[in-house]
């Protein structure tokens, strides 16, 4: 009986180790290729140790795509989208959690229903809308459709109704506080943890966004990093060392942030989908 358990444990560890290896191997391999000339890719047996072209390959990336500009554009897009979504969601979440008003349920259900609409349904008209407003090739055009985030309202309503006591709001009202003042000075400080959760979800999702920006950004100077990276792969004769160098440097900042705050990251993603 005991021996059987020991064997069971051994296989569980083995399974985990293999799974972890498969999860991180592409990162290591990407790093190796980013430090090697493209020809290293053809070596038999395959190259598995880093070479000395880390800087050189990255210089080639800088010649090919506006790497830092694209990283900056992405950062701006992600930060603005995150702040706007946090603002809209917390305000609406506050209203749904703590106010009585006619049509409340209908409004709330219709917000949930908007989650079912696949983003591709509106893609073509959204493109023409943005074109008409002269927002093609602008960062505002690249971010505008992400302001819509029904999940955010849902999460915020949930959090506010569970963690902001009604008595606190009543007391503030008796003191003559306006509703917006209550939101700013009572609700906001309490829901900061929910901001972290929703912020991480929105920021990570926006960072990886591709289809929309691929559609509205044509000027390389306005590219977000995903569009810039994908533009390296459009010729048939790609320098793999250069390409993976670009991917490596674009991926590493997020990986570092994740490794520093991985518990917060993981719990945020879980809460965002399970709650």
């Amino acid at each position: 009986m005991k021996k059987q358990w020991k064997i069971g444990r051994f296989f569980m560890y083995l399974f985990l180790v293999i799974a972890s290896f498969l999860s991180i191997f592409p990162f290591y391999w990407m790093f190796v290729m980013a430090t090697r000339p493209s020809a290293a890719y053809n070596a038999i047996p395959p190259t598995m140790t880093p070479g000395d072209m880390l800087v050189e390959n990255f210089q080639k990336v800088l010649e090919k795509i506006p790497f830092f500009g694209a990283m900056w554009n992405t950062l701006v897009v992600c930060l603005v989208v995150t702040l706007v979504v946090l603002f809209i969601s917390s305000l609406a979440g506050f209203a749904f959690a703590k106010f009585k008003f006619p049509g409340k349920n209908i409004f709330f259900i219709s917000i949930l229903l908007t989650m079912i609409i696949p983003p591709q349904l509106g893609l073509i008209p959204q493109y023409f809308l943005v074109a008409k407003l002269d927002l093609l090739d602008t960062l505002f055009g690249a971010m505008i459709i992400f302001f819509l985030n029904p999940l955010g309202i849902f999460l915020m309503r949930q959090y506010i109704s569970n963690s902001v006591p009604d008595e606190l709001i009543e007391a503030a009202k008796l003191d003559g506080c306006s509703n917006f003042h209550i939101f700013r000075s009572i609700v906001l400080p309490i829901i900061l943890p929910a901001f972290a959760t929703l912020g991480i979800i929105v920021f990570t999702a926006t960072w990886g966004e591709f289809l929309w920006q691929f559609t509205v950004l044509r000027d390389p100077d306005m590219y977000t990093i995903q569009v810039a990276l994908s533009s390296m792969n459009t010729t048939s004769n790609v320098d793999f060392g250069m390409m993976l160098s670009g991917v490596f440097w674009a991926t590493i900042p997020l990986v570092i942030v994740f490794l520093m705050f991985n518990k917060l990251f993981i719990s945020s993603i879980t809460e965002g989908s399970v709650k």
Partner: protein, 309 residues
């Protein structure tokens, strides 16, 4: 005095109503502009012939006729479904096993294992597609082919063969999302009381029995959730194949998906009517697939409860 108080109460309630409408209005204003208007316009455009510049002409169901009689559309739908199943179904099994192991009390380095398995989710789909694009390059010397050769198998043209492209893309999808699903299942497992396992162990139940009689049944709502997400996500597959195939993304059909077909119609061929018709068909497919999903997993009751609570 009583009257006065009542009056004040009333104005307070009115003020609250005004505030509430004000606070929910940003969402609905933005939704009207970039959600509802485009969706309705898509429905309208699906019945028009339009090249994006000239006048629109009403063509009735002609666009749907064109799309539904186009073998490429059916090929794209077939590809989407095949890659969707290959990329997401194995995640349920592997994800449950990984979560089950990660939930064991004796496990050491739990956080490190969990972080490593979750790491792929942090990378963007574009990054994944580019890295795997090199791993699965069509060269004989591609790392994937080298590994196949080690096991005595022939090299595969990963980007241009019918099954090569599908398998490579499914592996990408699997690799990036497995950590996400594992974490969801882990959250589910942590909600199962520990003494249930304790009792089963005392009764002599092995690992397999524990999995079968305790873990899987109690995990069902979480599995339903991920199946739902996976289905909707798989039907919208676009980034991985497009970036993986690079220059030939829209000229070959081995891995073309429905959204790629839509994109090609609209933005390469300037046929916005048929593009919109495809979008409407996609909406229909997603709604039907979600309904079947919900029905098969008989989660209708559970979902309703989740929304209400």
């Amino acid at each position: 005095m009583a009257l006065k108080r009542k009056g004040k109460y009333r104005s307070e309630a009115t003020k609250d109503k005004i505030s509430a409408y004000l606070y929910i209005s940003p969402f609905f204003i933005i939704f009207a502009i970039i959600g509802l208007y485009p969706a309705v316009f898509s429905l309208y455009l699906a019945f028009q012939n339009w090249n994006g510049l000239g006048d629109m002409t009403f063509v009735g169901l002609h666009n749907f006729n064109i799309v539904l009689h186009d073998p490429t559309f059916w090929k794209a739908l077939y590809n989407t479904i095949v890659m969707g199943i290959m990329g997401t179904a194995p995640q349920i099994i592997v994800g449950v096993i990984l979560a089950f192991i990660l939930n064991q009390a004796y496990l050491k380095f739990k956080n490190a294992f969990r972080a490593m398995i979750f790491l792929p989710y942090i990378t963007s789909m574009v990054a994944v597609a580019l890295v795997f694009g090199v791993f699965f390059s069509s060269n004989d010397t591609a790392l994937a082919n080298y590994i196949l050769n080690l096991f005595g198998m022939d090299s595969v043209a990963w980007k241009t063969s019918e099954w090569g492209a599908k398998i490579a893309i499914s592996i990408m999808v699997f690799w990036r999302w497995i950590g996400y699903n594992t974490i969801i299942y882990l959250a589910g497992l942590q909600s199962i009381p520990k003494d249930l396992y304790e009792a089963a162990r005392i009764d002599g139940a092995g690992v397999v029995q524990q999995l079968r009689y305790i873990t899987i049944p109690l995990l069902k709502p979480f599995i339903v959730l991920t199946v739902f997400f996976s289905t909707v996500g798989a039907l919208q597959l676009f980034t991985e194949p497009t970036v993986f195939l690079g220059a030939q993304a829209f000229s070959r059909t081995e891995a073309m998906t429905v959204v790629m077909y839509l994109y090609r119609d609209a933005f390469s061929l300037q046929s916005f009517g048929t593009g919109s018709a495809t979008a409407v068909i996609l909406l229909f497919i997603i709604v039907v697939a979600s309904a079947i999903n919900t029905y098969l997993t008989s989660g209708i009751r559970k979902k309703g409860r989740r929304i209400k609570s």
